[in-house]
């Protein structure tokens, strides 16, 4: 049974992250996921200190607030400070993360907030992190939280699909048409923050980036439609979660690490064997094109060429 819970948790985390990650990848802001996943740390720490419990809801709010703050500060710094986008992002998220680290170490004696757990996550403990509601065992808490966040993401993407699409493709056109671009922008960033915090309890602040970036990038190589890219990214997230779990079992290593490795393996496969633009098929096509050109020169059809 614990195997089932662990895999389900991983699948939910991967799906939630891949969905919002797809839009970050398309907007060429993939590393914003990295920034947010680190910058939410003070939000979690403050929520934890204020409520003195590991209640998830305040943590989600704290993390969401700091996620949006990261995005806001990065954009302001870029505009006002005339800095490059990546530089301002680097400044904002490391500063916020450092503040989080200081808060945790300052109050470490009073709180039971494990730094290792935040950085690396521990998905193997999920089956024992139960949600007891009215004395009833409702199953592992992370499953409920991730399920809730995944549902929020799906509702957001389905209801605002056309706005998200035009916002990601042609922001200027969207603004010129009166599409509420800022609302969509901060809605997406809020979703990224929620997904990150919900997922990183299980897979850690570092590996959550792999779930945000790699499955969408893999899907991007394999399709030419946004809707299919979203679905494929979820498929690759789930495949990586399942195969990663068994890889970890087989090698007796970290589950989160193995899942991240598997996202990379699937990406590598797509890179080489994508029927659209994979390296393998490009070579194959290139060779065929050469044959065709040669056959044109010699005035003979391709099929006969090898005999010449």
């Amino acid at each position: 049974m614990s195997t089932f819970w662990i895999i389900l948790t991983a699948c939910l985390a991967a799906s939630a992250c891949s969905l919002v990650g797809s839009f970050l990848v398309l907007r060429k802001q993939a590393m914003l996921g990295d920034a947010i996943s680190h910058a939410v740390l003070p939000g979690i720490a403050i929520a934890f200190l204020l409520t003195a419990s590991r209640n998830t809801f305040p943590m989600l709010i704290g993390a969401g607030a700091f996620g949006l703050l990261t995005v806001y500060l990065t954009e302001k710094l870029q505009l006002r400070g005339r800095l490059m986008n990546d530089a301002s992002m680097g400044i904002v998220f490391t500063t916020l993360f450092a503040i989080g680290v200081i808060i945790i170490t300052l109050f470490a004696s009073q709180v039971d907030l494990d730094q290792e757990c935040i950085l690396y996550g521990e998905i193997a403990y999920v089956p024992w992190d139960l949600w007891i509601f009215n004395g009833m065992n409702m199953g592992p808490r992370p499953v409920w939280i991730l399920g809730f966040v995944l549902m929020l993401n799906i509702i957001f993407i389905v209801s605002c699909y056309k706005e998200l699409k035009i916002y990601a493709f042609d922001r200027q056109l969207a603004i010129s048409m009166g599409v509420p671009v800022m609302l969509i922008h901060y809605g997406l960033m809020g979703s990224v923050s929620f997904s990150t915090i919900a997922a990183f309890e299980s897979v850690g602040a570092i590996l959550v980036v792999a779930l945000i970036v790699v499955p969408p990038a893999t899907a991007y190589l394999l399709t030419e439609r946004l809707s299919r890219m979203l679905m494929l990214s979820v498929v690759f997230g789930i495949l990586s979660s399942i195969s990663g779990y068994y890889l970890a079992l087989w090698t007796n290593s970290s589950i989160a690490g193995a899942i991240a490795v598997m996202t990379g393996v699937f990406f590598g496969l797509a890179l080489f064997f994508s029927p659209l633009d994979g390296i393998f098929f490009r070579k194959y096509r290139g060779a065929r094109k050469e044959l065709n050109e040669l056959s044109l020169e010699s005035g003979k059809p391709v099929a006969e060429y090898p005999q010449v």
């Binding site: 398309l26 060429k28 005339r82 209801s159 605002c160 056309k162 706005e163 699409k165 035009i166 990601a168 493709f169 042609d170 200027q172 056109l173 969207a174 603004i175 010129s176 048409m177 009166g178 599409v179 509420p180 991007y220 399709t223 030419e224 439609r225 946004l226 299919r228 890219m229």
Partner: protein, 268 residues
């Protein structure tokens, strides 16, 4: 796409008052004032960095001016967004984005849809018609990365047609387009004009300006001249816009370039 919606009354399609725009405290447009005439093809010309694209973006509300304002049929932009369509430069979007040609054209209809509302059958029909008009119907299901530069331009144009606006702002729609598609695009612009719409085009090819357009706006930081082609597109005005004696700014630029050149060659 009926021309029925072409706006009422006597207000000019676009009026711009005292418009000044700057980037990082450097003025890009200085005190621009004009009123556009109805149903004309209007070219905006001027040297690089003259503020042509900036002017369009400021009218479209994409950048905030330092001062001044513009009105669309006498009303603020927010109320009139559906009446204007914008064709940005081709390079402003990522052509590897996973959407089909049809999807991009359908985006033109989003201006008429509310938040959460999905495109209807009518929207899809209008998008298909727009694609047919630009001669790209066969490409509807292609991914946009498979298009040539001229085809991309036509897709952008189709998107604007689908928007069914009264005023069109186009930023270099002829850039990178071959001769025969260029004729096709020109024909479409003339069709828009004959339907009573106003079309403003940023244009870089001075040789074709007088043949393609009815009115011309010469821009170089300031509004150099604006009026009907015959009276406005004169050698004198062109000299003013493209670094004639009267343009202090371009003289300054030239001087600073010369100085830099002398300094550099002095080192050699």
């Amino acid at each position: 796409m009926s021309g029925k919606s072409i706006s009422e009354k006597n207000a000019p399609p676009v009026e711009v008052h005292d418009l000044t725009v700057s980037y990082n405290n450097k003025p890009v447009l200085w005190d621009i004032d004009f009123e556009l005439p109805k149903s004309q093809l209007i070219a905006v010309v001027g040297p690089n960095g003259a503020g042509k694209s900036t002017l369009i973006k400021a009218i479209m509300g994409l950048i905030d001016p330092v001062s001044g304002h513009s009105l669309i049929y006498g009303k603020p932009l927010e109320q009139m967004r559906k009446k204007i369509a914008y064709v940005p430069q081709r390079e402003t979007v990522d052509w590897n984005f996973p959407v089909s040609v049809f999807d991009v054209v359908l985006m033109g209809r989003y201006a008429h849809l509310r938040l959460f509302q999905r495109p209807t059958a009518t929207d899809k029909k209008l998008a298909t018609e727009a694609l047919e008009k630009v001669g790209m119907a066969d490409f509807a299901n292609r991914q946009i990365s498979q298009l040539s530069g001229g085809q991309q331009q036509r897709v952008f144009l189709a998107r604007a047609l689908a928007q069914d606006a009264d005023i069109y702002f186009m930023d270099e729609p002829f850039a990178g387009v071959d001769a025969s598609p260029e004729d096709h695009i020109l024909q479409l612009l003339r069709e828009l004009r004959s339907e009573g719409r106003t079309v403003v085009v940023v244009h870089h090819d001075l040789q074709t300006v007088s043949g393609y357009f009815d009115w011309v706006m010469l821009l170089n930081l300031r509004l150099v001249a604006f009026g009907p082609m015959e009276t406005t597109f004169t050698k004198e005005n062109l000299q003013k816009a493209y670094g004639g004696r009267l343009n202090i700014l371009s003289q300054v630029i030239e001087l600073s370039r010369k100085e830099a050149f002398i300094r550099e060659s002095g080192h050699e």
